[in-house]
């Protein structure tokens, strides 16, 4: 791993020493890079160029606000209407609807499938996404046939956050790598709530007490919009919880 993370703009030339040169593994290009045959690699967005020599991969770390579906992403989708075989649901405003097959639920058959009303929300996984087709999502794991926590989200409230923040919340080590402490801090204050984070920048928060839900939502939004550090997050949570009582 190099610690150098230079700023790149679209069309910049990447310094050759930052392109990993492993001969055994294939070079993997992450988001924000374009390969122009034969051997040019060009950034297409503005961000920090990150090179991982061990994995022989490189990508551009950047923030955007428009969610682009990618297979495997966990998202929160809103049902728009039901068709003969699919639900049509929206992943982000003003984009074409994604399809959610009626049978993509745990142990669903034609008769036992869940009946979802327009406007209800589901926690789902993206299975199919490419630029020429509308995305498809599912609420069941293809391999195990179990829901794994996916499915309709009942009650609660949805809060919009930036895509970057949703990604940080979803990181396996969100505390160490993503520098998000806010959820742990809220839990430590004794608030009871459930949470589902969608990669499309939507966070569902459920709980008995609407006050607690609002506090969680505000803590998330203010952490995101105020770009707070770990210490500031703890302070914010203390302040919000104090104001709640």
């Amino acid at each position: 791993m190099t610690t150098e993370r230079p700023l790149v703009l679209p069309g910049d030339t990447i310094p050759p020493h930052l392109i990993p040169s492993s001969t055994t593994k294939p070079l993997r290009l992450g988001p924000g890079l374009r390969h122009l045959p034969p051997s040019d690699i060009i950034p297409v967005v503005a961000g920090q160029l990150i090179t991982n020599h061990q994995k022989n991969s490189m990508w551009v770390e950047y923030n955007n606000n428009r969610y682009l579906p990618t297979p495997g992403d966990l998202i929160i989708a809103q049902i728009h209407r039901s068709g003969p075989d699919f639900y049509y649901c929206s992943l982000s405003p003003y984009t074409p609807h994604a399809t959610l097959p009626h049978l993509s639920f745990e142990s669903a058959t034609k008769k036992t499938r869940p009946q979802l009303q327009p406007g209800s929300i589901v926690y789902a996984r993206v299975v199919l996404a490419n630029k020429h087709m509308d995305p498809e999502v599912e609420c069941v794991s293809q391999s195990t046939g179990k829901s794994d926590g996916l499915g309709e989200l009942k009650g609660g409230m949805v809060f919009d956050v930036s895509l970057q923040f949703a990604r940080r919340l979803l990181m396996a080590k969100s505390r160490e790598e993503g520098k998000v402490e806010v959820l742990e801090a809220l839990g430590a204050e004794g608030l009871a709530f459930e949470i589902a984070v969608g990669r499309n920048g939507r966070v569902w928060v459920g709980g008995e007490d609407p006050k607690a839900v609002v506090v969680v939502g505000r803590a998330l939004k203010e952490t995101d919009e105020g770009r707070l550090g770990v210490e500031e997050q703890r302070k914010l949570v203390r302040r919000l919880v104090k104001g709640m009582k």
Binding site: Q78, S90, P93, Y94, Q117, G119, S120, I121, L153, K154, G155, G156, M157, V158, W204, P210, K211, V213, V214, G217, R218, L240, G243
Partner: protein, 297 residues
């Protein structure tokens, strides 16, 4: 045609339920406004108003025209409101939506019909020459309560605006360019402000000030009260089907007066601050700019 995103059932339910307990999503009190900010442009008559995440830009401009034949002694005053796709991709150019029509009607009633601007003073030669004042309202970002923000922006822009100075001598009308004479402010009579209440619940018993976009989506009705700091009401528009008790409406009006007074003093303060900023160097700077004098030392 991109659709306007509608909040989900969960969100609608939660917002209503929370409001029953007097909780708002951003932690505000029911009668609390979001922070109101105003910045003036480099030119006269440009006001940029932000109210939370709602942002409205108003620009006043003037041109010389012929007065309407049936009103030879009056100048012309217009307010143009158009919601562009910048507000939301669901708005299309040249296709007015309900929101747009409502805003322009309310602004018209509040500012124009209430006689805030003395249109007679805009007339230069009866039946022949007059000023036409136009305010363009641009909504840059929409997070609810566009009307209050737009009205504040229009009033701020008009009070900040300066029109070219003119003189009449022996039947000859001269319009001075800004280089010749400093432009003059409009003859302004009173400053009306809009205060919008939103009602929630089936009997509309929860009243909330300065609703966000999300709250507007679940509200069952709204009431816009336009008034100035003296408590003179210019108009009341009650929209949405829900009936509201007369007594609570009176209560709303009383609170509206407090808010209008608050907005009025804020605007006065910002106008004075801006005047000070422009007057940096004062007269001296102006003289030296035009007449390159050589100091007598």
């Amino acid at each position: 045609m991109p659709r306007e995103a509608e909040p989900s059932l969960n969100e609608k339910q939660f917002v209503l339920q929370a409001l029953q307990d007097s909780i708002r999503l951003d932690g505000r009190e029911l009668e609390q406004y979001r922070p109101l900010e105003l910045t003036f442009g480099d030119q006269y008559g440009v006001a940029d108003v932000t109210l939370g995440k709602t942002r409205v830009l108003a620009k006043a401009s003037a041109e010389l025209t012929v007065p309407y034949a049936d009103r030879p002694l009056d100048g012309i005053f217009n307010i143009a409101t158009e919601l562009s796709p910048m507000t939301s991709p669901a708005f299309e150019v040249n296709r007015p939506t309900e929101t747009e029509v409502l805003i322009s009607r309310l602004l018209e009633k509040t500012v124009r019909r209430s006689g805030a601007l003395d249109t007679e003073s805009l007339c230069l030669v009866a039946g022949q020459k007059c000023w036409s004042i136009r305010v363009d309202v641009h909504v840059l970002s929409h997070d609810g309560n566009l009307i209050d923000a737009a009205c504040f922006a229009v009033v701020a822009a008009l009070r900040h605006f300066r029109k070219p100075d003119t003189s009449m001598e022996g039947g000859v009308l001269t319009v001075y360019t800004p280089a010749e004479r400093e432009p003059v402010p409009l003859s302004w009579l009173h400053s009306p402000f809009c205060v919008t209440w939103s009602f929630f619940g089936e009997d509309g018993d929860i009243a909330v000030l300065d609703a966000t976009w999300m709250e507007e989506q679940v509200s069952s009705g709204s009431c816009t009260i336009s008034l100035n700091k003296h408590g003179e009401i210019c108009q009341i528009a009650k929209l949405g089907g829900v009936p509201v008790e007369a007594v609570s409406l009176l209560q709303c009006t009383n609170v509206a007066l407090i808010k209008a007074k608050d907005m009025s003093s804020k605007l006065d303060r910002w106008l004075t601050e801006d005047a000070k900023r422009r007057d940096k160097g004062g007269l001296l700077a102006e003289l030296s700019a035009e007449n390159d004098r050589v100091p007598d030392i």
